[in-house]
């Protein structure tokens, strides 16, 4: 008797399997047979993402989505890459619709329908095109259909979508999750045509807003106030704190703003966290994830947060974080954190931060992930010693020290790595310096992923890449060849591993290959599954000034066929790389080196 196929599984079991799969897997599964297709379609269209090309964000193509499929959507996402165009990306900034440089670039190979489409829009400013097109997508949904909406284009949001008469707040007041990436640098961002009004949304469990303008602070503040009791996830990224505070000045009373950033910062914290209101304490009783980037924090905020429920705390470049953590410790709040990320490049001047970290880490146990970046560690061993307080549970540890030689003695690392069964390690450390301190992992089976990050400049060897030969010119994540939504999805599944493998190997330094052969080899770390190199934050975008287009890659353990290399290169779009990224994305992207919107990164610089 042939073994039975999946078709004998009852529907509820089939759905249970489907729920555990990623979209790429569902695509493959839906083509297996008719029954699979029917069951998968619902799961597949549960979330619809519309991704215009980064260089031409008004080119929203959604007409082809069948109405019956669109009506299955519970989540609608507009998103784009942030690889090349960062601050000046809003269609407001390019009102010439007769076809600029990038318009021509994209026009090759367009179908007739798209030609017609172009004619229809001729003469209309790009932002109006964006507004009309996005509005028409949102209006095709049934009222109340959406649970989740995101706008991650990094542009102004048309008021037709999110404004006072906007289709999303008007038709979907039960929305549970809202995520925005806007653009504080757009010169027209205070125009009424892109006003944002979230006052109708009072059911949010999740609120994320990256790169708001200072004029959005009132909107943001009231959205937080209206939803604070339900919020489980709150993520704010002010992108460039100093710009933000400067921009905020006109919104403050003149007397407060004059020459005193401290006042502005306190005002900002009060406004966001309701410190000046008669608000209930904790203001966020259900909070699970709090992620703040470049948001000023003050000690008085501590009681606003329910640390009993908080599992993830991320503070990136937040002025005042040491006082905040110290206040949490002083109040003796019961902390149940699983993940802590502290990134601080600019403001750290003395031991205040380290003492705050020591006190905080010493006040509880059970941390599973600890990601810490500091510019200059005055006494780096103390951080490791505090981390040892969590040795029983700690699984992921990231400790990049951007531009200083790591002066922690080997035996200190040796003891730390010997004491913690880490699964993931991310470090700024030259492979040759890393090798000796990894010895403890040769005799245990915990370490699965090693992520070597390289700062733009290192005291060890300046600007030399640790992995790539000087002559390497990478192009396999060239944004030019990847223009988003209309790519054939089969590329995702059928990445050609062999081709990528050979190409990457030819670019790598012999010393790096030797390190990888050791790590995956019989004398190396038997449990290691992946060796990741380079930047993964912001889709792997490189810091300004770096000439290589792409410098991140993942190596995996070889197939163990005895011959040849102990490792293989994971094809970037292949299923294995995707699964790996899904699993470890948070850690790979933690402590990003640059901001999502980078004001110094001009189109002409690239």
């Amino acid at each position: 008797m042939p073994p039975p196929g999946l078709e004998i599984l009852p529907t509820e079991l089939f759905i249970c399997v489907i729920e555990k799969l990623s979209k790429a897997d569902l695509k493959a599964l839906s083509l297996v047979c008719k029954r699979c297709h029917t069951l998968v379609v619902q799961a597949l269209w549960e979330s619809v993402s519309i991704e215009p090309p980064e260089y031409s964000l008004h080119q929203i193509k959604a007409e082809a989505i069948p109405q019956a499929r669109l009506q299955l959507a519970r989540q609608l996402h507009f998103r784009a890459d942030f690889l090349r165009f960062t601050d000046r990306r809003c269609p407001h900034e390019a009102t010439d619709s007769s076809g600029g440089e990038f318009e021509n670039e994209s026009s090759s190979g367009d179908s007739e329908a798209e030609e017609e489409d172009r004619e229809q829009w001729v003469g209309l400013p790009r932002f109006h095109q964006l507004a009309r097109k996005t509005e028409s997508v949102v209006k095709r949904l049934r009222p109340g259909q959406l649970h989740s909406f995101s706008w991650d284009l990094g542009t102004c949001v048309p008021s037709e979508v999110l404004g006072p008469p906007g289709a999303v707040p008007l038709n979907h007041p039960m929305l549970q999750s809202l995520a925005l990436t806007t653009n504080p640098y757009c010169r027209d961002n205070r125009h009424p045509e892109c006003e944002i009004d979230l006052s109708a949304l009072r059911r949010l469990h999740s609120l994320r807003w990256k790169a708001p303008g200072a004029h959005h602070l009132n909107t943001l503040s009231s959205a937080i106030e209206n939803n604070s009791g339900r919020l489980q996830d709150l993520e704010l990224d002010f992108v460039n704190h100093l710009d933000f505070v400067t921009d905020m000045a006109p919104w403050l009373h003149r007397s407060e703003a004059e020459g005193d950033f401290g006042v502005a910062e306190t005002w900002c914290a009060n406004k966001l966290f309701g410190l000046s209101r008669q608000s209930p304490q904790p203001l966020f009783p259900a909070i699970r994830t709090l992620s703040l980037s470049q948001v000023p924090v003050v000690g008085a905020m501590a009681p606003a947060i329910n640390f009993m429920t908080l599992r993830t705390l991320i503070l990136r470049e937040c002025p005042g974080w040491p006082e905040f953590l110290a206040h949490v410790t002083d109040l003796g709040l019961p902390v149940r954190l699983k993940k802590l990320e502290i990134q601080d490049h600019r403001w750290q001047k003395d031991l205040v931060g380290l003492s705050a970290m020591e006190g905080f880490l010493g006040a509880f146990q059970g941390l599973e992930e600890l990601f810490v970046t500091q510019k200059r560690l005055l006494d780096p061993q103390r951080l490791l010693n505090s981390a040892l307080h969590h040795r029983a549970t700690l699984k992921r540890f990231i400790h990049p020290v951007p531009d200083a030689l790591d002066d922690i003695p080997d035996d200190c690392w040796f003891y730390f790595f010997g004491s913690c069964d880490l699964e993931f390690i991310g470090r700024h450390c030259h492979p040759e310096l890393l090798r000796p301190i990894l010895r403890p992992f040769m005799s245990k089976d915990s370490l699965k992923v090693l992520h070597i990050r390289q700062p733009p400049f290192s005291l060890y060897d300046g600007y030399v890449s640790w992995a790539f030969k000087d002559t390497a010119r990478l192009s396999f994540r060239d944004p030019d060849s990847d223009d988003g939504a209309d790519q054939d999805v089969n590329r995702d599944v059928n990445g050609d591993d062999d081709e990528d493998d050979g190409r990457l190997r030819s670019w790598l330094r012999p010393q790096f290959i030797e390190f990888a052969e050791w790590a995956f080899g019989p004398q190396g770390i038997g449990s290691l599954q992946f060796l990741a190199f380079g930047k993964f934050a912001h889709g792997g975008r490189l810091p300004f000034g770096w000439r290589l287009r792409s410098a991140s890659f993942i190596l995996a353990r070889g197939r163990g066929d005895g011959a040849g290399s102990a490792f293989r290169v994971l094809s970037e779009r292949g299923p294995e790389a995707r699964a790996m990224l899904e699993k470890y994305r948070d850690a790979l992207e933690a402590c990003p080196m640059d901001e999502l919107l980078h004001p110094s990164m001009r189109d002409s610089d690239i």
Partner: protein, 183 residues
């Protein structure tokens, strides 16, 4: 009288099904058994509990093997969706298989795996059901359509035009890299 510690369960789908003796602590993984224990007193339970689901004795034996081995694990109750260690709502992330679970599932042929899933569903054994679905999901993850057909022993019932049409539709949808949605 001390509460009954050994329960008798019989495979009654077809005549002549085996009678299994299962420790009470193990059998309590089953929502169905929990319900019976709540509804009836012990004297009623001395009788044999019928299990009427289209699964072979061999398949049921595997289910009871898992239940017996896992008898000390926390039982999932009525409200109980099994969630990740951090209570995350990201529902397709791999659950944790113990080393024993791994060996247990790896040793199954596909027929036994499907029988276990169906029995776990019928008996309402949530952790086993979740692990089994996760195991199937792991088999599918990262595979192409053709590989999935091979693994699951399914023959395509699409004609080429249908398949092409569906492929074209799929091309409109991009992958979700974020799955942090809460429901």
């Amino acid at each position: 009288m001390a509460p009954i510690q050994i329960l008798k369960l019989q495979n009654t789908f077809k005549p002549g099904g085996k009678v299994f003796e299962v420790e009470r602590a193990a059998a309590e993984h089953s929502g169905l058994v929990q319900m019976l224990l709540q509804d009836f007193d012990d004297s009623d339970l001395e009788a044999i509990i019928p299990i009427s689901v289209d699964v072979s004795d061999k398949g049921l034996a595997k289910v009871f093997e898992w239940m017996t081995h896992s008898k000390d694990l926390p039982k999932t109750t009525d409200d109980g969706s099994v969630r990740g260690p951090d209570d995350s709502a990201v529902n397709w992330k791999p659950l944790t298989f113990s080393d024993w679970d791994k060996k247990f599932f790896d040793a199954l042929d596909s027929e036994a795996l499907y029988e276990i899933l169906i029995a776990a569903n019928y008996l309402d054994i949530k952790p086993l059901y979740e692990l089994g679905c996760q195991f199937v999901a792991n088999m599918i993850r990262g595979k192409t359509t053709e590989q999935i057909r091979e693994i699951l022993n399914i023959t395509s019932d699409f004609n080429p035009e249908e398949e092409l049409r569906i492929r074209e539709q799929k091309a409109l949808v991009k992958d979700e890299s974020e799955t942090a949605e809460k429901n």
